[in-house]
């Protein structure tokens, strides 16, 4: 098999995930896009491992480690999103603008106060 097939598929999947991370508004959909990007990297690792015929199979071992780390990441990420949802009542990342440099006039005030009182 030509190596370009898995490499190009991984590139396209990664860019799809990149678009999702940048364009989505719901935090959980952003996490889904991050999963897509991680899977593109995994496909690259497996393809290059098979291509190089590595004696240690470093690519496949790293793929397994990446899958485990992605599972941990999704657990922590969802816990954080749920905590944000409990505290703020929304999981839209557009509305979480407490650290914005130029705070909007309408939504910065209540958020600041909610954070101060909570």
């Amino acid at each position: 098999m030509h190596l370009a097939y898995p490499a190009v598929l991984a590139v396209l999947l990664f860019c799809t995930g990149l678009y999702g991370v940048l364009a989505r508004r719901n935090a959980i959909l952003v996490l889904m896009s991050v999963e897509l990007m991680l899977n593109a990297v995994n496909l690259n690792l497996v393809a290059f491992d098979v291509w190089l015929r590595d004696a240690l199979h470093a690519g496949q071992a790293l793929t397994l480690f990446t899958i485990a780390i992605a599972a941990a990441e999704i657990g922590i990420g969802l816990a954080i999103v749920l905590m944000v949802y409990r505290n703020r009542g929304t999981s839209d990342i557009d509305k979480l603008r407490d650290n914005a440099e130029t705070a909007g006039p309408d939504d910065a005030g209540p958020d600041e106060k909610a954070e101060a009182t909570a």
């Binding site: 190596l3 364009a23 508004r25 959909l29 071992a61 397994l64 816990a79 949802y85 505290n87």
Partner: protein, 185 residues
């Protein structure tokens, strides 16, 4: 299609064609995942994309990684995502504000990155061929041997990381006074 026995059943050209078709399906499912307006459907299309990637691993003779992909990703990560969508009261029907305002910029960035990377990758690997003949390179026996002979230390470190993630998730999602104070830091 007997994908698990790809070496025996499919000719090299057959493997390429199967890889191409499954790749197109995977990419289509991924694109629908990041563009659909229905949040739950996005998670379900993610199952198709991740399952397609498992088939691609099988075609690359990495059997163990393929089954781990099915178990971990399709089995647990998507279920976690669906639970997250339900717990944050995601709307079931079409939600018009699924995409934020910087969608055109995201489209430009993604297309530019895709064009640059595809050009570089195709140009760099135009003479590289994967030789899939011979014994499977990712069978469970091979994976177990290399994992527990050469990669034991990272494996054990990873178990500690998973324990830390477990404790962290419990601490983050506990609902009492101390957690409230912790959350404000």
């Amino acid at each position: 299609m007997s994908l698990a026995a790809a070496q025996g059943f499919l000719s090299p050209t057959g493997v390429e064609i199967a890889f191409l078709l499954v790749g197109i399906a995977t990419l289509g499912a991924a694109v629908v995942t990041v563009t659909t307006k229905q949040l739950v459907h996005a998670a379900l299309w993610l199952v198709v994309a991740l399952g397609g990637l498992a088939v691609e691993y099988l075609l690359l003779t990495a059997e163990f990684v393929a089954w781990v992909q099915v178990l971990i990703y399709v089995g647990s990560v998507v279920v976690l995502l669906l639970f997250g969508l339900m717990l944050t009261k995601a709307p079931i029907g079409r939600s018009p504000d699924a995409d934020s305002g910087n969608r055109p910029a995201a489209l430009v960035v993604a297309l530019a990155a895709a064009a640059a990377l595809v050009w570089v990758v195709v140009d760099a690997f135009r003479t590289a061929w994967i030789d899939l003949d011979g014994p499977a390179q990712g069978s469970t026996k091979v994976s177990g041997t290399i994992l527990f002979r050469h990669w034991v230390l990272p494996f054990e470190a990873l178990s500690v990381l998973l324990l830390a993630a477990l404790v962290g998730a419990i601490v983050l999602s506990r609902k009492d006074r101390t957690t409230d104070r912790e959350g404000q830091r």
